[in-house]
């Protein structure tokens, strides 16, 4: 299992969470939401390869 990607996602999540709080504190709610959305997109983009890998494994498992 690739540990790096988990740590990377954890790091991104923490930074995005702090950014969201800071931006909301500064009354920039729209920007805060955009940052969260951006964070989600980046993380999904990071894990999409892993999900594809999982599907491949499942496919090979049930192919007799």
């Amino acid at each position: 299992m690739n540990l790096e990607i988990i740590l990377q996602i954890a790091g991104i999540s923490m930074v995005v969470a702090i950014l969201h709080t800071v931006l909301e504190g500064a009354n920039k709610k729209e920007l805060a939401q955009m940052v969260v959305l951006g964070g989600v997109i980046v993380v999904v983009w990071l894990i999409i390869g892993l999900v594809a890998e999982l599907f491949d494994t499942v496919q090979t498992l049930f192919r007799f």
């Binding site: 790096e4 990377q8 991104i12 950014l19 504190g25 500064a26 980046v42």
Partner: protein, 174 residues
Amino acid sequence: MLQGLFLGSLLVIGSASVLGWQLGDRYRKRRQQLEDIRLALQVLITEIEYGQVPLPEALQQAAKVRPGIGSKVLFKTADILLEKTGQTPRDAWKEALNQEATNTVLHTEDIDILLGLSVSLGASNTKDQLRYFKLTIQRLERMIEEASMAEASGVRLFRYLGVLGGILLVLLSI
């Protein structure tokens, strides 16, 4: 390898923080420059009201009170007037303001308020001019209030944004 990565990350985070710091500093500078100009105008009012001296002299006297953007504009206006190229105080004020405004962080609406002063400068009697000056100072005070409010949240926001942006960049590029 790992040391290089660490050093590179530190550099990226450091430079992003400095960038955020500088962007946040613009809020503080705007308020300071507005206060500078307000003070310069207040002194100029006193000079016009009680000094009863020619305009270039009054401008120079007022400019000597505190160095800053306000004093620069007043000095420049006085210089243009003393060159005696036939420019009216109104044109001199506009020219000085436009020249000095390029080195400031003032917004266009701040400059517009100051440009509004050119309508009366040297064009009417003392009483009318003073009325215009006081009106301009009132409008400047409103801008200063607005700038202080923006400063309270803006400075901290940009500092946070700089540091966090740097960390995010490092995380994404690892």
